[in-house]
Each structure stands twice: as C-alpha cells, then as structure tokens.
Symmetry: C2
Subunit: 401 residues, 2 copies
C-alpha cells in the first residue's frame, strides 16, 4: 500500500453510518440514518417510458462508448435548466459526472497537493471530507451559525491559511439542514473574488425547498469564474442512475474532463440517455413539486413529534428544504453511546461526530426525514425520545438541563 | 491548480487518438482508430428484455442508492463466471467498478506514492498510463517480444527499481494484440510471488479468442493473493453500461472499496441490475461466440488485405483475439507524418507513439478491426497501403526497405 493510503486509513474512524446501514436490514427497524430519497416517489413509470424510447430510437449509441464530457444533448438540457438556479451557462461549461460525488474527487485531483488547505463548514458532508482526504489536504473550518457560514470570518482565515478551495453546501446543508442567506452569499462571493479563492458550491438539495423563498446560487454571482457548481439527479429523479454534473468556466471544466477520462472514461451512456429522455418527455418540475409536498409533510411531522416528545435540553434545526435536520443534545451527552439503546428500540439515527472534519463533537445527531413514512416518523421519533430521555436520566444531576 | 496536476499536464502530449476520433464524424471516413466494439453486434433485444424485467420486478432498488461493493446478485454471478478464466473466487473477492478503467485509478490511489515504480509492457494501454500518472509514479518498461513480456528480465528490474506494481494485459494486448504464453505466465507469477510484487492483470479481451487455445489467467495461479484481476462487460455486452469488476484478495478488495466509496459511491444500480438480468436470462456464451466469429473474420480480412497491399518493409502482429493489430513500419518512417495523407484518403489509424510510457517510438501504428465492416476493411486497408507506399517513396533511397 502507498504511504499516502496508509496514512489516510490510520485516520479513518469506522464510519458509524456504514455500520448502521447494515442494521437497517433488520425487520421492524425505523431508520432516520442514511440519506436515501423515498423510493415510492421515484417516477418509475416515466423513467420506464423514457428508457423504452431510448432503446427504440438510440439503442446503439446508448450502449456504446461516448465522449468524456457527457452526451451533448444532455449537457445542453442541463445547461438550460441551470436557469432555475439563476445561472446562465453554456454546454461548454458543463461536465456530466458519475454522481456529483465524482466531482469532489476530480476537484481534489486538479487542485490539491498534500498539505493544502480546504475551508469547509463544520460539520459538513462526510463523503466530501473522504473524497478530498485522498489528496491529503488540511481542513480548516469556517465558523457557522443558523444562517450558514459566517463570511466575515473568511478574510483572516484566507490570509492565514492560503486555502486552495472553499467547500460549501449553501442549501439545506448536509448534515445540518441550514441554508446560507442571500446576503451572506453576496459577501462570501465578493471576498472569494477579491482573493481569487475557488468556491465549490455543492447543491444536491437546492430544488427541494418546502417553505421560504428560493435564494439564487453563489454561481449566479460568478462574474470571475471562481465558482464550481455541482448538482445531481439523485434527489430529483433517482440516485441509482449516478448522473451528476459540474458547471465551471471552460478552463476548469476542461481540466476536470482530462482527469475524468483517466478515472472512468465517461458516465454510463445508457443512464445519460435515460435522463435526457426523461427531462425532454416529462415535466420534472411537476414531479419535483410532488417530492416537495411529500418531504415537506414528513419534515413537519418530524418537527411536531420532536416538539411533543423530546426531553428538555434538546434542540434541532428547522430546515426549509432538503432531507436532514440536526439535533443538539445536552452538552455531556455522547450520541454514540445512545446507539445500543436506539438499536434495541429499533430506531436508527447518525451520530454527528463523523461530520466534523476537525475532530469529534459528540453531542449531535443527524435525522433524515425523506426515507421514512409519516407513520414511521411518528412512531420512530417517539422511540428516539424515549432513548434520549433514558440517557438524560443517567447523566449526573448537575449536567441535566 | 495543484502542482501535481500542473506537472502532469506539462507532460501530456495532445492525444492523437482524441484528435482523430473527432475526424471520424466526417462522412466517408473509414476508421481503424479508436477501440469501439461493433454496435451492430450489441445484443440489443436481449438487453432490452433484461431492462424491461428489471423495471417490472426491481424498479425501486434499480433506481436507489446501493452498496459500494456492487449489487450482491451481480457479484455472485460474476464470481461464478470467473471459472471461465480458471479462477476460483468468492463474492467477497469481487468489486464491481465503473468500467474496468476505474480499477486502474483505484489501484493507483491505494498503491502509488510519487516516485514509486510501475512496471509495464511497452507499448501499453494509453489510459492505464494516464490513470496511474495522477499518482506520479515512474514507469519502467519490461522487455517484450512476440510472446509478450519476457519474465526473465524481471528479477533484475525488481531488485533495481523496487516496483510497487506490474501492470500487464496478457491476452491480445492493447495496442499490439500479443498474448503472453502459458509458460511465461507461470514464470512471471513465480517471480512476482518470490518478490511479493503486486500484479495487475488487465483482461478486457480474454473472452474474444478467434484461434489457438485459451490460456488460463495469471490470477488462476494466484495462491499468494498478489494478483488483482480486472475485466469488464464492455467488449462482451456493451461499453455504454460502464460495468467492470476487480478480483483481489479480501484485504485489497476492501481497500479498493473504501477508495471507491469516496470517488463515486457506487456504480450505476440500473446498469448493474441490467447486466445481472442479462447474464441470468440469456446465454452470453452464445452471444460471445457470435462476436468471436465476426471479429475473427474481420481480422482475417484485414490481415489478407495487408498482405495483398502493403509495401515491402511493413510487418504486423497476428493476434489470436481481441480488437487490434500493430504495424511496424520501416525504421525512418514517422507514423504521425502519415496522418495528413491518411485523412485526405479518408482512412484513420492511431500512431503508436502515445502507447509508449517511456518516450515516443514513431514507426508504429495501431489498427482496430472490430468497428469496421468487411467491405470497409477491404477498402480502407487499400487506402492506407497507398498512403504508406507514398510515404516510402518519399524516404531517402538508402532508408527504403
């Protein structure tokens, strides 16, 4: 093994998420772990029709090798749809990727040398940390509050750490559900532009807003070509298709393409054609509206049940979209230690510690509300609250809230 | 950009293959460039039936996130089919990858530090060089002849260079079409085992044998767990599906899985299910027999036409399978300089220089015989021979053969 890989593995904590996902196979388990969309909302009939048409009309090209940049028909359509995110871009700015996860690896490959600094929110998306880690950067975290990262903290960090990248999930962040305000996006952008800092704007959840007003993407402000915008069909059509995309100025898009060619030649031609056909033949916005209504209802029920059942001293975020909310427990409580009790009551959550790039904060849990039914949410939050209440009773009296 | 990426880009020669593939769009062009399978041989109806059944029976899981290791049904089936390559392995030894190209990147990630040595044939598969290059190894080439690499040269190279990996394509190599003999496989394996050297056995073409006798894979000898075997459905079912696999001892398979999770989470669930269904419901060996007959005939016609038309001083390999043959031109001839003439005559080939990891040898060309019809091969080789004859006439008299 390479010393790089050995170093990386020595720093890997066994992912609690992966261990727990194994437990989700047990009958009767209610899971708020994982980050799966609701399969009953997949537009199966429409995807099937799209697939049939692909086989009828373009089978040979859907089964053949294709260009690394992606199928040009799909790139055009995705570039057009970027207008929904207030971004004007051309086909040449857009690269189709094997899920948006792949962009994180490609970006690491072209921007990061060992020891380079990456700025992130803390907590942040676990698999982004893992993707960048292969290139051995230092992670430096930007202070955040309930409106997302605090851009005023950036100049000092940038001057001190000379970061190569700022990685941010501005909409309904994973794991917190927090959204960066419009004003902060403007301030963030102007600071990044002043320093020429590359901003990686990861936006898997942007279309899934349940309340409040849509906020234009950071990319929409990008007159300097410093923002790399990432998204995916995983949360709007289906994740099994592994189709994502990156939007970046042509120089960066071309570098990403060169690197992508060496890692998987290109994304599945069949999946790309199916997504193209689906987007052309059906009204995805009607479908997204259906997801929005359903997930919004699931979030509401989860929030109400948390209010009803959780003991004092527990607070949580109130996301306006996405798939997750984030629970803050009393200070002395270690959510990893809640796991055995939760498993016994057949309810799953993700302890927050893996989401911190700079060390473990142990009092948090992430709850996913997109993959459980309303009845499961009602029942599951009750069970989780019991587990939390029992844990609080076991705390020394002075530490109870 | 990272200094790593900048260094890598400074070493990149504009790929003649990519430039030429753009020219293949022109009407009337006959292309022996590229490495595309024949689309008219894709088992379209059977893949379509398999896909319909996937949507009918397992739509939700085919569209949902899945395990990084791959769909377990598919892994089982692929592990069983390894018996065709004389390899006994279990599901736990097998990782599904996004094409076998992905394995090369994953292997680079876990084995290579900057400056590490990789042993390869010379010439070798261009995109393997590119995949490993991201990790900045030194390439050291092993002497080869018409029976593949010469294993007797290995001990000295291994002792001097302390390589991390030996990368080899033992069956119908890309670009030469040469096959490593059974005896050399045994010698190669015993030397690698003695030194504990990891052998990457890349076998995309192994099932496509047109003459001669099948030779067991190097992996079939692997009692020490040092061989990583790679293959793909790209040449037997369809490359657009991007489904490949790696077989390695569980320790390596798990390391590959950890790394894969960070680069694309998992390979397309839909593509995996379609391949599983296709392999379960149809007899792929009957289909492969059809490909074998057709490609074997194309090779024969190409070989006969080369014998009829090529001027003196040109020789070529006589592969028993695969998709390519390799032409050696008179010593003073630079095949890049044949390109304008070839384009004018509307025939395409790949100059050999990009396939040499250790510098450009300019007198070679790779010809693909799987993607052109018999009539195109007949006509195209005639045109190519004219171009070659004209080039020879332009050489100084002393250099003509």
């Amino acid at each position: 093994m390479s010393t790089r890989f050995a170093r990386r593995m020595s720093g890997v904590r066994a992912s609690s998420i992966r261990e727990m996902l194994k437990a989700t196979e047990q009958p009767g388990i209610i899971s708020f772990a994982g980050g799966l969309p609701a399969p009953e909302l997949f537009p199966v009939d429409d995807i099937r029709s799209a697939t049939e048409r692909v086989f009828r009309e373009t089978a040979a090209s859907a089964l053949q090798y294709g260009p690394t940049e992606g199928c040009s028909l799909l790139r055009e359509l995705l570039a057009e749809r970027m207008l929904k995110r207030a971004v004007v871009c051309s086909t040449d700015d857009l690269l189709v990727t094997t899920g948006s996860q792949q962009s994180l690896d490609l970006i690491g490959k072209i921007f990061l040398d060992a020891g380079d600094c990456v700025l992130t929110e803390s907590p942040t998306y676990l698999a982004a940390i893992q993707a960048f880690q292969a290139y051995e950067p230092r992670f430096i975290t930007v202070p955040t509050d309930e409106e997302g990262l605090i851009p005023e903290a950036l100049p000092e960090l940038i001057e001190r750490e000379q970061p190569k990248l700022l990685y941010t999930i501005p909409n309904f962040q994973n794991p917190t559900g927090v959204t960066l305000t419009a004003e902060r996006r403007r301030i963030l952008y102007s600071i990044a532009a002043r320093y020429g800092l590359i901003v990686v704007e990861d936006d898997p959840y942007g279309m899934l807003r349940y309340s409040g007003t849509a906020i234009p993407s950071i990319k929409s402000l990008d007159t300097d070509g410093i923002v790399i915008y990432l998204s995916t069909v995983s949360k709007t059509i289906a994740p099994g298709l592994r189709v994502g995309w990156a939007v970046a100025k042509p120089e960066i898009r071309r570098a990403l393409t060169i690197v992508k060619q060496a890692v998987d030649l290109h994304t599945s031609s069949l999946d790309q054609r199916i997504v193209y056909r689906y987007l052309s033949d059906f009204d995805i916005d009607v479908h997204i509206e259906r997801i929005r209504r359903s997930y919004g209802e699931r979030y509401s029920v989860m929030n109400s049940r948390l209010e009803e059942c959780m003991p004092a001293g527990f607070t949580w975020t109130h996301p306006e979209g996405g798939m997750f909310l984030w629970v803050t427990c009393p200070e002395e409580l270690n959510t990893c230690e809640l796991m055995p009790g939760a498993l016994e009551r057949k309810v799953l959550f993700v302890p927050g510690q893996d989401f911190f790039p700079d060390g473990a904060s142990r009092r948090f849990m992430r709850l996913n509300f997109s993959n459980a039914s309303l009845a499961q949410i009602g029942e599951g939050i009750g069970r989780l609250a019991d587990v939390c209440a029992a844990a609080v009773r076991n705390l020394p009296v002075a530490q109870r809230c």
